[in-house]
């Protein structure tokens, strides 16, 4: 659900790598095929699925699908869905806004450039950066559930649950962006005697803005998905309605909520895309060279400032309407037994099947990541010749993004047995929806010249796409996929219930047993795994971006 430091990393990867495969042909697949490599996992998967399928819930699944065209229009249902939707959007907006402020401040605090210019020291930046890895490693759902236990059912919980990990993510991106900027102008100003804060603002402010705005916009989309997910686990808003209507198999009412959410999500994505183009921001899979330090920020500066200024009354109004009261965070409710003698039951802690739990989580992450990365290019390729099919693929991506993974998993259980594969499918499909959109965006930004040349030379649409378009995006796309794997690791917690394997399932079981010691241990292991995963995916990404 989250998206991290891809913005700065991808800028370096901008131009194509068409020549890359030339040197060591023997060992490498051709570049266009590189993108399709992960989709090879579909072959064994298709082999396994018949053994997992039981088809018992086919009736229900058909009812679910049919209900899509006949959503409930009952005024009561509509009103409840709209109220829920407003709450979800409000929580997303507040959490997002708070995360931006938090992230900007913490990002500045963890920037090496800033520390060097102002205090001549580097180590505090490194320290803060490391500390920030911890809030980032814990999924917003975990923050939400933990806060829920500490302060009770308050509207502010969801907002803070989103703001903490998102803020830490934004901080990382801000720090990376800052430290990646050319410091020539800064040094010049400093040598000329300008005080550090003024020099920093003048030299680094403008080039920082485009990357920040583009990334910030993207975080709002993530926040909407997160707020929906938090609702599924009882933190209020439309997610709660979706969960309850699905669980009670009221499919018509379920689709009422889904269609409304889809409309809002597409409107948000389109709106942000427009703004991004209007304000000349770099794309996320930035292949065009719009980004970097060059973009003309000044032209639309007034608009931007106005838009940001509008956030103030908007945030206050939303906080008011939702009853978000930060003071509620101070009223901690004691957790019965915690801190008392014997609240940590070492024997039971060690008795948890740790290797199986961790193994299950890793297997789930890998399978889901490969699926998420592999599906979209294949879907595009297969649907290339038929425009209606292409539209259908886009629609399926939108629905997959929209639908929180635990709900997909519940639906899949109507056809498949519980387990790693079912859970991985649920997560993989959701993330394929996210990656698919990025892929489409990157393709739209790239140059169509090669593809057109191939097509006019009589090559079919599929081959033209494969050889004309895919080579340029292969490496950035896969690099983004590596980053996504690390997000997925964090996300495995949300399908734990259904996966029946992995740390996530144990976590929800421990939560319903109110076993605080187990809960803490599980969160710690999760954080540790995520930190390791982040390190690993960073390396893979750097290698991919450096190219052949």
């Amino acid at each position: 659900m989250t998206g991290g430091g891809e913005a700065p990393a991808l800028q370096g990867a901008a131009s194509g790598h068409n020549g890359g495969a030339g040197r060591r042909i023997l060992l490498r697949p051709a570049v266009p095929l590189l993108v399709l490599l992960p989709s090879l996992v579909l072959l064994p998967l298709l082999g396994i699925l018949p053994f997992l399928a039981h088809g018992g819930g086919l009736d229900l699944l058909c009812q679910f699908a049919l209900a899509a065209v006949t959503p409930s229009l009952d005024p009561l249902v509509l009103r409840s869905a709209l109220t829920g939707l407003a709450t979800t959007v409000g929580m997303a907006l507040l959490g997002w806004a708070a995360s931006l402020v938090l992230g900007l401040l913490l990002g500045l605090a963890s920037s090496r450039t800033l520390w060097r210019s102002c205090w001549g020291q580097l180590w505090p930046a490194g320290l803060i950066r490391r500390l920030l890895a911890i809030p980032r490693a814990i999924h917003e759902l975990l923050w939400g559930l933990l806060l829920l236990q500490l302060v009770g059912l308050q509207p502010v919980v969801a907002v803070v649950a989103i703001a903490i990990p998102f803020g830490a993510l934004v901080a990382r991106v801000v720090a990376d962006l800052l430290d990646g900027l050319d410091t020539g102008r800064l040094d010049a100003l400093r040598l000329a005697g300008a005080p550090a804060p003024a020099a920093l603002l003048t030299a680094l402010g403008p080039p920082l803005l485009p990357g920040l705005l583009s990334y910030g916009g993207y975080r709002l989309e993530c926040a909407l998905r997160s707020a929906t997910l938090l609702g599924v686990f009882g933190l209020g808003g439309l997610g709660t309605d979706l969960k309850l209507t699905l669980q009670s198999l009221e499919f018509h009412e379920l689709w009422t909520g889904l269609w409304l959410l889809l409309a809002v999500m597409l409107a948000l994505e389109t709106g942000l895309g427009r703004l991004r183009r209007r304000w000349l921001m770099p794309r996320r899979l930035g292949l065009s060279r719009a980004g970097g330090g060059r973009a003309g920020v000044g032209v639309r500066a007034r608009e931007m400032v106005l838009a940001m200024a509008a956030l103030l009354p908007l945030s206050i109004g939303v906080a008011w309407a939702l009853g978000v009261d930060p003071r509620a965070l101070l009223a901690w409710q004691p957790l019965q037994g915690v801190g008392g003698s014997g609240w940590i039951d070492g024997g039971q802690l060690l008795a948890l099947p740790w290797p199986a739990l961790i193994g299950g989580t890793l297997a789930l992450t890998l399978l889901a990541a490969v699926l998420a990365v592999g599906l979209p290019p294949l879907q595009l390729l297969v649907s290339a010749p038929w425009p209606p099919a292409r539209l259908l693929v886009r629609l399926s991506w939108a629905l997959a993004r929209l639908w929180p993974p635990p709900l997909t998993a519940l639906l899949l259980l109507l056809l498949l047995q519980p387990g790693v594969v079912t859970a991985a499918l649920a997560m993989g499909l959701h993330n394929a929806g996210i990656l698919g959109r990025l892929l489409a965006e990157a393709l739209a930004d790239g140059s169509p010249a090669n593809e057109q040349a191939l097509a006019s030379g009589g090559v079919g649409p599929r081959l033209a796409l494969l050889y004309g378009r895919y080579p340029a995006i292969a490496r950035p796309y896969l690099a983004y996929g590596a980053y996504r794997a690390d997000v997925l690791l964090r996300e495995t917690v949300v399908v734990g219930m259904v996966g029946a394997t992995g740390l996530g399932s144990q976590l929800l079981e421990s939560l319903s047993s109110f076993a605080w010691d187990q809960l803490l241990a599980l969160v710690a292991v999760y954080a540790l795994l995520t930190l390791l995963g982040e390190e690993l995916s960073d390396r893979v990404r750097r290698r991919l971006l450096q190219g052949a």
């Binding site: 997002w96 509207p155 019965q336 109110f514």
Partner: protein
Amino acid sequence: MARRRAVLGLIGLLASPLLAPMLPAGPLARLLAPAPAGAQQPASQPVLRIGAIPDQKPEKLNRLYPLVASELSRQLGVKVSYVPVVDYAAAVSAFRTGNLDLVWFGGLTGVQARLQKPGARVIAQRDIDVNFHSIFIANARSGIKPISQQKELVVLKGRRFTFGSESSTSGRLMPQWFLSQAGVKLSDFKGGAPGFSGSHDTTIALVSSGAYDAGVVNEQVWRTSLHDGRASREKVIPIWKSPGYPDYHWIAQGDLDARFGKGFTSKLQPAILAWRPSDPQQKQILALFGAQQFTEADAAAYGRIEQVGRQIGKIR
């Protein structure tokens, strides 16, 4: 006031647009925003917030509990509101954190709630809760036949099986206990784990459809479903009725007297015990609860539930 707001807003605008999102946390927001209704303050008119574990369809809960709220409000002369929650554990947490004052808990969740909130009081249970039963059910086409003895539960090995909520007494805790006595472990089910449908109604729907071969539900919901036609014996059959155990009960916070006036708790209990089918509204409530009337409940009776809960690991 309006002008003051405008001025403050203008100051905020000028100060820095980037500060905007932080302001809800600041003094400005405190001036601008009224205290939310849910905030726990010594309000002039305290509201009794009632809740329930979501063991059945939300649609049914939304019919039943507003009725309960209006009846209690009439009887006790205080405002009563119903707060829905998303799952069993959330009901326990909301009780512990003081978001709910009076909750209709199951056996297990009630014990969990009382352990986490010392001083909480058991108020009442239904006549049927003293000796409650679970019904194991199977899809009619699954080939599973009714059994007469507990040890025959082994027929469920290798089948797709679903419980209700993870914290359900009649839909998980006691059934798991009976299964383990018969030698059936959770990993013996097909797929290596049982499902958790979330509620009794959903278990019936999933087993009827064939999504699961078998499942287990609370007897009262099962009877009601057969009666109103939501379950049909052509699609789903009962295969075994469990021995009895104590289940659902009302639990109230220990500090109600301090908030609603002296003697409030001792008025609350007789109010619930006084519900009779002769009163039209009370009749409706009792019918939705599937009971003739409510009786006093003894906290000690749930000792057995606590014991099983500890053995299965749901109580620590």
